[in-house]
Each structure stands twice: as structure tokens, then as C-alpha cells.
């Protein structure tokens, strides 16, 4: 600043012609040049700022775009139409694989050799017999009849239909054999291979076979975990905030608690995982991979976020409200519970939603407490083995199959959708209930 002043002062003093008025000095060539340079610097700086914002926005678009591009196709899955004759003897033996294969061979009368049949067998998902079995189990009267079913295709066929393989590459580099492509093309031509909405994705648990894997189990695990987190951290957090903001005397202890909470909010999340592993699993002997433990760890992690947000909301309530309540004879606790807390509730709620959104997207601490296990079943209780959506994403991202990349992307889309909804709800709540005193 001082430097700026001196420069302008220097520009003024050595003016050579004493006759010239100050106005003409301002019109001098040197002054104009300097001004141009300063304005150019101004424009450059402003441009740099705009470029920074544009870069951040570009990254957001790139990130979302790449995920949508990879994941959109996973909402569809390839299915094969078969005319299955449910031979009662085979049904009694539960030999559904043979039934399906026979129906498939019937569509390819020209294939008689073993190699050709093997190609056909591999068109079907290894889960297809179970689909048929479930159908028959639901309606035993089907045995003995002939019915048209659509069963899941193998994940490679699914990817082929979606155009993930380049047909112009030689067979050895393509990753899928000519024979399979030919068989799939024949089915496509006859209309027996088509895409439908992918319900498996939303109902099934994890699987080693991409076409049978879904995020149903992970979503259930996420919900259970979040339930525990919410039940523990919301009441505790609000109570702690009320104490610190309304009742705590200002002394060294409360100062320590305050510093401690601020620090806790910035501790890396993986440290909370180590805490959970050592204390909850190691010391208390709680079960591994359980939503209960996951929820406990997440509750400790979100607690500081909720306390800080609640304190800000409580602080925003004007003291006149408290004085009025105390003046008509309410006890301090009644003042807080009946008047201050209800008025601070929208702010607290917003902070809570943001904390929950963070817990929902958190992965690292859950890896530590074993929620990274391969779990096929959909969890039903707080102590069942479970995984959560972000961890499922992490595990699928490591899988080599192409179809898993697609499923990972779609799982991310769903997770992001939920998070944006939650954050949007927080913003709207803030807008509706925002109150200036």
C-alpha cells in the first residue's frame, strides 16, 4: 500500500515543466502508459479468478460426466427369452440348469457338438437356474407346463449387447470369442435377446458374478448403520451443545471441551476406524462387520459436526427470548427446552442432515471394522454382517470385470443422488425457516 502511494507521489514531483497544470500531467504519456499497465494487470487478475472457478466447475462436470457415461447403461440388463418345458421329473430333481439348456439348444438346432453347446451354455448367467427355481417355488402348478421366460444373460453378453466390445479387433485382443458373438447375434436377430430394466441391481446382494450382483444388501446395510448413527449422535450432540452453550460455566474445563470438539471435527476419519477396531472390536468384543459397530463409529465421527452446528444455531437465538422466559418465572431448563431449543431447531436440523450425509458417504473407518467383507445376504438386523454403499463401491471398483465398472458407476450415481437430495433438503430447510432477529 505504502509503496503504491510513493510511486504515485514520485510520478508527480519530478514534473519538468512548471507551467503545465496538474491536469496536463495526468494526461502525460508516462501516466497513460502506467494506467494501461495497471488496468491490464487488473484484467489479468480477474481472469485468473474466473479461470480458477471455471477449472473447479470443469472438474465437477468431468467427474459427474465420466460417471454418468460409465454408469447409465447399468440400468438395463440383457435377458434371454426361452421356451422352457418344465418336465416334472427334472423339476422334482431341481435340475433347472438342464431345463434351461434344453430350451436354449432348441433355438439352435444346427449346434450338435460339445464345443458349440458349451458356447450356448455360457450365454446364460449362472444365476438363471435360480430365477427359474424361484418362479416354480412361487407357483408349483407350473410344473409340467411350457412357459416363456426371460432369464439373465451372462455379463459378457450383457456388455456385448451394450456395445462395450469392439468388434473390429482380432479375436485374441477382444476379450470375447467369435463363437459367443455369433451366438448372441443370432439370438438378437430372432428377438430372443433383449434389454430390460435391471431390477437385480436394486434387490440383490453382492455376488462374484456381475450380472447377479446388486446394491440391495449395501443399501440395507447403509440404512441400518445410519439408523444407529442417528439414534446415538443426534440426541447426544444436541444435549452436549445445549449444555455447552446454555449452562456451562466459562472456565478452563469447558474451554478444554470446546478446543477438543473443534479438534475432533478435524481428526482424519481413518483414526476413528482405528478407535472402533481397538475399542469396540478388540476391547468390548463386538461382532465384526456389524452395522451396530459401524453406526457407533460414525456416531462418534459425526458428533462434533452436530455439536458445532447446534451451538451456532443456539447462539443465533437472541438473549431477549431467554430473559423474557426467565422473567415470567420459567426455570433455566424450562427456558431452554420450551423456548430456545424450538427456535434453534431448524438450524440444528440442517446441521444434522449435513452430518448424516457425511456419515452416509464415509468409507475409510468402516474398512477398519470389517464392513469390507464379501456379503451376499441382505442384512436384517443390527448385528448381521453387512456392508454399506460406499464400501460396496470401493470393492467393485477393484474388480476386473467390465460389468462391475458399470455397476460401480451406477452405485455412485445412486449414492450421489441420495446425498444431493439430503443436502438439497438442508438448503431448502434453511431457506424456509431462516429467521433474522
Amino acid at each position: 500500500m505504502t509503496d503504491l502511494v510513493e510511486r504515485d507521489a514520485a510520478a508527480v514531483t519530478p514534473s519538468p515543466a512548471p507551467s503545465a497544470s496538474p491536469k496536463s500531467r495526468l494526461r502525460s504519456e508516462a501516466f497513460a502508459r502506467r494506467l494501461r499497465a495497471r488496468h491490464a494487470a487488473e484484467r489479468r487478475f480477474r481472469l485468473a479468478g474466473a479461470a480458477a472457478v471455471a477449472l473447479a466447475a470443469l472438474m465437477l462436470v468431468l467427474l459427474l460426466g465420466s460417471i454418468v457415461a460409465k454408469g447409465a447403461s447399468a440400468f438395463l440388463e440383457a435377458r434371454i427369452r426361452l421356451e422352457v418345458t418344465l418336465d416334472p421329473a427334472e423339476v422334482a430333481d431341481r435340475n433347472y440348469t438342464a431345463l434351461l439348456r434344453r430350451a436354449l439348444y432348441a433355438q439352435f438346432p444346427q449346434v450338435t457338438d460339445r464345443a458349440g453347446k458349451r458356447v450356448l451354455n455360457d450365454l446364460l448367467s449362472s444365476g438363471a437356474p435360480y430365477e427359474l427355481e424361484a418362479m416354480v417355488a412361487k407357483n408349483p402348478a407350473l410344473a409340467g407346463t411350457t412357459l416363456t421366460v426371460w432369464v439373465r444373460a451372462d455379463d459378457q453378453i450383457d456388455q456385448l449387447v451394450k456395445g462395450a466390445y469392439r468388434r473390429d479387433l482380432p479375436e485374441s485382443e477382444r476379450g470375447i470369442s467369435d463363437a459367443r458373438i455369433a451366438a448372441a447375434d443370432a439370438l438378437l436377430a430372432s428377438g430372443a435377446l433383449a434389454q430390460g430394466f435391471n431390477t437385480t441391481l436394486f434387490t440383490a446382494g453382492d455376488s462374484r458374478e456381475p450380472e447377479q450382483a446388486g446394491i440391495g444388501g449395501a443399501i440395507a446395510g447403509s440404512l441400518l448403520t445410519l439408523l444407529v448413527t442417528m439414534a446415538l449422535s443426534v440426541p447426544t450432540g444436541i444435549a452436549a451443545a445445549v449444555y455447552l452453550e446454555e449452562f456451562a460455566p466459562k472456565n478452563r474445563w469447558t474451554d478444554l471441551i470446546e478446543v477438543n470438539i473443534n479438534n475432533l471435527a478435524a481428526v482424519p476419519s481413518i483414526i476413528f476406524g482405528l478407535l472402533g477396531l481397538a475399542v469396540f472390536l478388540g476391547f468390548f468384543g463386538m461382532p465384526r462387520s456389524a452395522p451396530l459397530v459401524g453406526g457407533l463409529v460414525m456416531a462418534l465421527m459425526t458428533l462434533p459436526v452436530i455439536i458445532i452446528a447446534s451451538r451456532v444455531a443456539l447462539k443465533a437465538v437472541p438473549p431477549s427470548i431467554r430473559q423474557a422466559a426467565l422473567g415470567i418465572g420459567a426455570s433455566p431448563l424450562q427456558t431452554v427446552l420450551h423456548h430456545v431449543l424450538p427456535l434453534a431447531m431448524p438450524g440444528i436440523l440442517t446441521g444434522t442432515i449435513i452430518g448424516m450425509a457425511r456419515a452416509l458417504g464415509e468409507t475409510a473407518p468402516l474398512l477398519m471394522i470389517g464392513m469390507v467383507a464379501f456379503i451376499v445376504d441382505v442384512p436384517h438386523g443390527l448385528t448381521d454382517s453387512a456392508t454399506v454403499l460406499p464400501v460396496q463401491i470401493y470393492m467393485w471398483a477393484d474388480s476386473p470385470e467390465r460389468a462391475f465398472t458399470e455397476r460401480t458407476s451406477v452405485a455412485i450415481l445412486i449414492l450421489l443422488g441420495v446425498l444431493i437430495l439430503l443436502n438439497g433438503a438442508a438448503v431448502i430447510l434453511r431457506k424456509i425457516f431462516e429467521r433474522r432477529w
Binding site: 500500500m1 503504491l4 502511494v5 504515485d8 495497471r38 494487470a41 479468478g49 480458477a52 472457478v53 473447479a56 465437477l60 465420466s66 440426541p235 447426544t236 444435549a239 445445549v242 449444555y243 455447552l244 449452562f247 478444554l256 471441551i257 477438543n260 470438539i261 473443534n262 479438534n263 475432533l264 478435524a266 481428526v267 482424519p268 476419519s269 483414526i271 476406524g273 482405528l274 478407535l275 477396531l277 481397538a278 475399542v279 476391547f283 462418534l300 462434533p304 426455570s331 431448563l333 450425509a357 457425511r358 458417504g361 464415509e362 468409507t363 475409510a364 474398512l367 470389517g370 460406499p390 463401491i393 470401493y394 471398483a397 460401480t408 458407476s409 455412485i412 449414492l415 450421489l416 444431493i420
Partner: protein, 460 residues
Amino acid sequence: MQLTLLALILALLTVIGFMIGRSRAAASVGGRVAELHSVPSYHGVYVALWAGLPALLLFVAWTASEGWLAMQLVLSALPERLTTGDGQSVALLKADILNLARGISTGREADPLVVGAARRYAALRDLAGWSLLAVGASLAVAGLAWGRHRIGPDLRARPAVERVVRVALVVCSLVAILTTVGIVLSLLFEALRFFSVVSPLDFLFGTHWSPQMAMRADQVGSSGSFGAIPLFAGTLLITVIAMAVAVPVGLMAAIYMSEYAGRGVRTWLKPALEILAGIPTVVYGFFAALTMAPFVRSVGEAVGLDVSSESALAAGIVMGVMIIPFVSSLSDDVINAVPQSLRDGSYGLGATKSETIKQVVLPAALPGIVAAVMLAVSRAIGETMIVTMASGLTANMTANPLQAVTTVTTQIATLLVGDQEFDSPKTLSAFGLGLVLFLVTLCLNMVALRVVRTYREKYD
């Protein structure tokens, strides 16, 4: 089962207690509630607390000690040759009993004595569950009766209830302290066990990291080495790359938004940055591993550089992108806290906007910005998912951002994922790393938060 039942019974008794207390209080003064010391509903809460609280405390104490007690009883019944021995074999025996009692096969032929012990353990736990139910329920009923007996016009119900509520509030605010104590103790305790095997000096200053421990004494490569310098170097490299992206972009974005952007632009930009801040780290990791890393690699190959497929550059750039909104929102706060009078003074002297920002606003905001950067560094050091998914596992000591490096958090995550015995140096080393990570981030946060605090006070 029994726990759910007990919870239901307690909830029911509490509600009943509330209603009894309220109506009895009113009845005790013949409906003239003004004669009561406290409002009837406080009497209700008073009885409900007597019904619920003692039983709840018993329940907590019981469940905390039940498993341990049952295990001690079972172990004391076993012959001594099984229960004596080093800590490891006893721990294994306990794990076997627990697994068998839960009906999980241990995967090997079990000793009939152990099977018997497991059956006894399961029976004891079952018995304990039912007796907890009985004792808890009777305690709740007794509490209810006692509370109901105390009710009268002179009972100071409100102060009593308020005392309990205040204690509960204090306990809740102590949870945060307890969490910190828990973190410090668990990290210290496990890290000390690790340092009893590996010397702290070797750990902190060793330059070779290969956390293997021999299964057999004569195994090839049996001596694991736990020199953490390569991990610290890798963490530093990725953090530096991330900061090189996040600090300029975040700071310039904050300046643009607070000083240049109009209202209309800001209403769009702020939510966009908030979305960027709300994206889970696992998503960034996926982006880094599947989009950014191949991109960096192909760009590198196009200019003739040898780029690893898990380069530090890709992970660092994506981590930087993740931290941009963090830096920009913190800097935004700091810049907005600079008083308008300073800006006005500068404009009055004829400075342009950028000159004002560079020579007045930024110097005034510098402490806050430094604090923001420190918090961002602490965030980058502690970030796990991006580096776990996009950087390598090999402990390279290099300053070349095109090579794969590994970080402290990656190692913690990979060492502890999966079923592992708790007491091998390999898993314990993760706690040693965790302790270092905790201490470093704690120092950064403490200093940064203190700077922010004094800075706020300066302009408030």
C-alpha cells in the same frame, strides 16, 4: 431376543410411570394443582425416571461385564493345561469358544473339551440374558413403586428432574472428551505393543518398509522391516501435489467469488462448490483410478515420459480437486472478515481492485489463509480412499510424481483390512502409523484453529 423384550418392558413401564405420576400428583391435592410444588407433568417425569433410570444403569453395567464373566466361569472349569500358556494360545482358545458358541465352525477338528465349554458358555449367556430380563423388570417395577410412593404436594419434583437432566447434559458433553481419550489410549496402547517389538527409532527413521513377519523361523525374507520414511515421503509428495492444485485454485476462486462475482453468479457457484465438497471420497477415488490415472498416463506417453499406472500425480491432482472447496470456503470466510474500511481506504488512494486485493486484503487476511492451508494439509494427509484406490502399495522413496508411491493412510487401510490376528507386528504397525498420523494432524489443527481464533478476535 431378551434385550428387545427388556427394552419394550422398560419403555412401557416408563410411559406408565409418567401417567401414574401425573394423575397421582393431581389426585394428591384433590385436583387443585396450584397447591403442588411442581406441575403434575414433572411428577410424571419423576416417576418415569425412577422406573427407567436404575434399570437402564443396571442394563449397561450388566451387558458390559456379562460376556467377560461368563468366559471366566467357563475357563475356570477347563483343565489347566488348556488355560495356562502364553497369551496367544489363551486368546485363540477364547476365540474358539466364542465362535463355537455362536455356531460358527472354527474350520478344524475341535477338542471335545472346548466344544463342551462352548456349550456351557452359550447356556450361561442364555441364563444371564433371562436373569437380566427378570432383574431389570423387577427393578423397574420397584423404582416405579418407590417414585409413586414419594409423590405428594410437597415433593420438589421439578428440581429433582432438572438435576437429572443436567447431569445427562454434562455426560453428553463429556462424550467428546471420552472419544479423544479413547483415541489416544487405544493408539498409544497398541503402538506401545508395536514398539516393544520394533524400535521406535527404526520405525521413524528406517528407510525400508516391508511389513512382513515370518510364519516360520527359517522362512525366506523372514525379517520384516518397518522403516516408515518411504511412507512419510510418499504422503508428503501427494500432499504437495494436492496443495499445488488446491491452494491457487481454491484461493483464486474464493477471491473471485467474494470480490468480483455478482449476486447472480454467486448463487450458482456456491452450491456447485458445495456439491464438490459433498461428494464422498470413494467417488473421487474411483474417478482417480479409472479416469484420471489413465489420462495422466496417456498424456505422459504422448510426450515420451514413462508414467506408472498408479502415479502419485493422478492421486494428488484428484485430491487437490477434492480440497478446492475446502480451501475456498475457508478463505472466503477469512476474506469476508476483512473490514470494508480497509478496502475503502485503498480505493480512496486510487488503487485498482486487484491492487487492493493483493496489497491490502490478502496481507490482512494472511493469518487466516495460512490457517486454512494448514487445515487443508491436515485433510490431505489424513485422506484415505483416494490414495488407497489410486496410488500404489509399493513403498517407493522418490520425488518423481510420475512414479507410484504409497502413503501412511493407504498402509493403515491395507494392513487392517481382512481377518487378521490382532497381535502380529504387521497389524500393530498400523497403530504406530495411526499414532503418527494423529499427532501430526492434531498439531496442524491445533495451531490452525488457534490462529483462526485470534484472527477473528482481531477484527471483531
